[in-house]
Symmetry: C2
Subunit: 328 residues, 2 copies
């Protein structure tokens, strides 16, 4: 993110990360430096409220940073690129919403709207100097992701690709994903899957750590498993390894097809670090095509934290409008 | 493949398709018209013999077509792009062979060397006016493929990607692929897999059509199943549907991640047409993420036949050397 020998004025953008429960935002420079972060807001339960919340935050931030020249939004859901039309978002109130146009009309600044996992991938790519062929996986309640191919975010025909959580890895497993299909990676390797594995383990061992921690085997969730694994519970560590095994299978499929150099894993579950990543690495190696004849891609934890979403969205807005003069 | 309003001289290339058993070659124009095809040669069993066979064919074809300005080779195996170094080819004698450099040194023409499935995909892309986001699958003894993303062949970091036959679709199935891994698409949806399914069916029904056709349940192979299915045998048609189901799962995974518009299926098994493709289409739809919110990609049979390999290789050579003046 450093400039070359030509000195150019610093450009700034406002970035947003619209999640299912909260909206994060701030101002970032084209050098990747965050200038100001607002306190996260609760995501309004209706589309109009969401739009109003974005407009209010933009007004406030532009008041203090009039040199802001672009707006970037990362949002959960299927989003057309470059149109910025939110086609479908199973966990949010908005859908069929032309968010890019609505924001550009009211704010008169160039705006980009992309999938939340894509903007987080972009933050990782830019701020961590990732190689040009990179898969970013975010493992939380679900499994999301973004692909960087040839140094650019990959979007496919209409921008609704990149759904790496919906690689079909376990069609025989009879486990239905939240999306309604059978055998998705998200169904077997997400925080939600950890909770299901945990409840099975706790039911089989009602006097064990998991059942004891949750008070009731039926109340075990992904957080219980995560906390118990970090505290040393062997059954919970085995569950994390099981999720890691599935992640490695999905990763191997994508490396076999896309010849990637680095896999970056972020999201809440990834905070388990090598408890999760070691089994993902071993599984990737086991399922990698022609492993003896190639370099095995590295699997690393995300370097960017909870701010990756809004920062990546702002950086993406500046990248897409790189040729545009600042209005100041 | 028609030129625009500017009239340019027709350019020509020699194309090769090096398979495990035979080498096809010919001369093609940049308009996609084949000018001459040589009779296929047996693939020599040693690398030196293979190289000599290519050089001899080039000399012969250039004698009759001195205006040839480029050479394109499609070859089975892991091949670095753009270096044209054959890193590994499990079914051929050559490996670790800098084929591009060897040909350029001896022929003094710009040369490209790429994976055989990639060049066939390129023929399909150019000659059938495929959309810009296309997956080409070739289903024969194995399952190979090529990806066109944004109108260009996708190669990944070093050119060894595109191995769609090694998507992991059935890790629980305990079926080992020829590559040594478990659960590859190739292990469950190739001609080899048809043969295995057929032997199982024939063993269970030793008086049935398959066992009768082959003379012995143990002698049933992919061709037996293919022929019996076309002749109307219901058990064999069910086997083709089973392979099609697995193809659809692999296709759905790639569409979910890569947002593709068209899937083209070629190779010997694809000659079964809708007996195979209908189940692949149904399976794709079943495993497609957010199917209600998107256009379902079309699954079609390859339009190009057995000449797709060498023709695509020649077209690719002309495409890569588009700016180069003809030496004539």
């Amino acid at each position: 993110m450093t400039t070359g020998s030509v000195v150019t004025a610093t450009r700034k953008a406002i970035g947003f990360d619209i999640g299912g429960t909260k909206i994060s935002c701030g101002v970032i420079t084209d050098k990747g430096d965050p200038v100001e972060t607002l306190l996260p807001m609760h995501t309004p339960t209706d589309p109009t409220g969401t739009l109003d919340a974005l407009r209010t935050a933009i007004q406030e931030l532009r008041g203090r940073h009039p040199e802001v020249s672009a707006i970037g939004v990362g949002a959960a859901g299927l989003i057309e690129w470059p149109g910025g039309h939110i086609r479908w978002a199973p966990n949010n109130s908005y859908h069929d919403m032309p968010l890019r146009r609505l924001l550009e009309d009211s704010c008169e600044l160039p705006t980009v709207v992309d999938n939340d996992a894509n903007v987080a991938a972009w933050a990782e790519q830019v701020l961590s100097s990732a190689p040009n062929y990179m898969l970013f996986l975010t493992v939380g309640t679900g499994v999301g992701g973004g692909l960087v191919l040839g140094g650019e975010l990959y979007r496919g025909k209409s921008g609704i690709g990149g759904e790496v959580g919906h690689l079909i890895v376990d069609p025989r497993g009879n486990i239905r994903c939240g999306c309604g299909n059978l055998g998705c990676l998200e169904a077997v390797a997400s925080g939600t899957a950890l909770g299901r594995y945990g409840r099975e383990a706790a039911t089989a061992d009602p006097g064990g750590t998991l059942a004891t921690l949750a008070g009731d085997p039926a109340k075990v969730n992904g957080e219980t498993v995560f906390a118990a694994a970090l505290a040393g519970d062997l059954a919970s560590r085995a569950i994390l390894r099981r999720a890691g095994d599935w992640l490695g299978i999905g990763i191997a499929s994508l490396v076999n097809v896309l010849d990637l150099e680095r896999i970056v894993i972020g999201g809440g579950v990834a905070a388990a670090g090598d408890l999760l990543l070691d089994s993902a690495r071993a599984s990737l190696e086991r399922y990698l095509f022609a492993r003896a004849h190639r370099r095995i891609p590295e699997v690393v934890a995300a370097a960017q934290g909870a701010d990756a979403g809004w920062m990546g969205a702002g950086l993406l807005a500046l990248n897409e409008n790189a040729g545009m003069p600042s209005p100041v």
